[in-house]
Amino acid sequence: MGNQAGDRADEGQTAGTAKRSAVVYAAAALAVLLVGAAIGMLITLSAVGRDDPPGADSVDVGFAQDMRTHHLQAITMAGWARNGSQDAEIRQLAFDIESTQLDQSGQFSGWLTAWGQPALAPIDQPHMRWMAGAAHGHGDGPAGTEQMPGMATSEELARLRNSTGAEFDVYFLQLMLRHHEGGLEMAAYAADHARLGYVRNMAAKIKQGQQAESTLLTDMLTARGSKPLPS
């Protein structure tokens, strides 16, 4: 009797232990899953802001430096038109271009500062080397170029500055149109090839915006009885 009772008790104990272990294992598994999921989420979260900054030879840095230089000349020309033109439509557009590109150029220099890179490319460094993968048709290849497409020369800038009235208006529209179109290639390349999403986004916005503004500039030239500079 006593032995039987003992055996039964042992069996009961074994069953109870098994049940308890099952609960403990299940709880442990749940705990592991929860912690694992949490770690996964936190890694994703921290990875978002933890990209290594792009290096000196990257598309991101090259675009930010060169597009900033390109923008700065547009800001200069647009500032003259905003102050000097007698044509309200030109003053409006010039102010729009000037203020938007000034803000964007500030974003470029902010990125470059945060990435530990100079806010402008070194004076002796050719432009657009970062577009080595692009066939940009200027015969410069991976070596880059001294003069970015669309940039006005010092002589052209002087001529714009010294002209007045309708002559100024038309020449401003012509130079700005060529400038906008010249920047498209860089914007399009960076929109596709920059590493950082916010750089690609800005490049895409510039490409889209300057395309639309090029149409506008062409229409404004037509409306003033003129046409784009010969390419």
Binding site: G2, A5, G6, R8, A9, D10, G12, Q13, G16, R20, V23, V24, A27, A28, L30, A31, V32, L34, V35, A37, A38, I39, M41, L42, T44, L45, V48, R82, A88, E89, R91, Q92, L93, F95, D96, S99, T100, Q101, L102, D103, Q104, G106, Q107, L196, G197, Y198, N201, M202, K205, Q208, G209, Q211, A212, E213, T215, L216
Partner: protein, 261 residues
């Protein structure tokens, strides 16, 4: 000692068995406490991570969250081409009321936290959206008193915010951002704050990052803004594609006597 133990062995075993049966029927408190403690800890870690992640995703524009307004119920979206301008004498035949994208005047309405007391011309307001502003439009017949004050407090002196009455608005309140609109009934709706957080100067959603909010004397006087026009624009209006709305085909005799079906 040994023999004594042995003697008591049997009864003790039974007792132990009974005790263990009793213990099994009761609760193994130690184990439960340990399991609960581990689960609480794991749940805490998970909860912390979850809150962190969801907070990061909520209404904060970022490269991996380009349009946080997707999480807001009722937002209407539409894609528009940027950079199409009309002059001060032209009207645009907008596809939405209030409009939230499309061709617009070359000059933007000042959107430097201005609460316009009168309804403002749509063509100027749409240009503010292209630059990243939020435009709060309200029906002046249905939004008054404390509700109106609440909306004003969201806009007054806040950069990239602008507000104006919109006569005949089909709902009390309508929020506009480029390509986004949310119509609401109450100034207390939490989605107002969510919409503003999600879209104000959200560089992923408006076409001209860095576009300015003061017109700076280029053709828009915020003290005397060009008025809103309630009448439908005529056939000389500019269409959503930026081209003049082509007038309907010349009214041939057939159109004066439409076929009855």
């Amino acid at each position: 000692m040994a023999s004594g133990t042995k003697k008591k062995g049997k009864p003790n075993a039974v007792k132990a068995a009974r005790a263990s049966v009793v213990a099994k029927k009761g609760k193994p408190w130690g184990t439960i406490a340990a399991v609960v403690a581990v689960l609480l800890l794991a749940g805490g870690v998970f909860g912390y991570a979850y809150v962190k992640v969801s907070a990061a995703e909520k209404f904060l524009p970022a490269d991996d969250n380009k349009d946080p307004s997707e999480k807001i119920a009722g937002v209407v979206r539409q894609t528009y081409s940027p950079g199409q301008h009309v002059d001060a004498t032209q009207r645009v035949a907008y596809d939405q009321s209030p409009p939230f994208g499309g061709p617009h005047d070359g000059v933007w309405a000042d959107c430097t936290g201005i609460v316009y007391p009168t309804a403002v011309r749509n063509e100027n307001m749409v240009h503010t959206l292209e630059h990243g502003a939020i435009w709060i439009a309200y029906n002046p017949d249905t939004v008054t008193g404390p509700a109106l004050d609440k909306l004003k407090s969201l806009v007054d002196n806040k950069p990239y915010m602008v507000m104006s009455p919109y006569p005949g608005l089909d709902r009390p309140i309508s929020l506009q951002s480029w390509g986004h609109q949310l119509k609401l009934d109450s100034a207390d709706d939490e989605r107002i704050d969510q919409f503003i957080r999600s879209l104000r100067t959200n560089v992923y959603q408006h076409p001209e990052p860095g576009g300015r909010c003061d017109s700076n004397g280029t053709g828009f006087n915020p003290a005397a803004p060009p008025p809103f026009v309630a009448e439908q624009p005529g056939p000389d209006a500019i269409g959503m594609d930026g081209k003049p709305v082509t007038p309907a085909p010349p009214a041939a005799p057939t159109s004066s006597a439409p076929p009855t079906q």
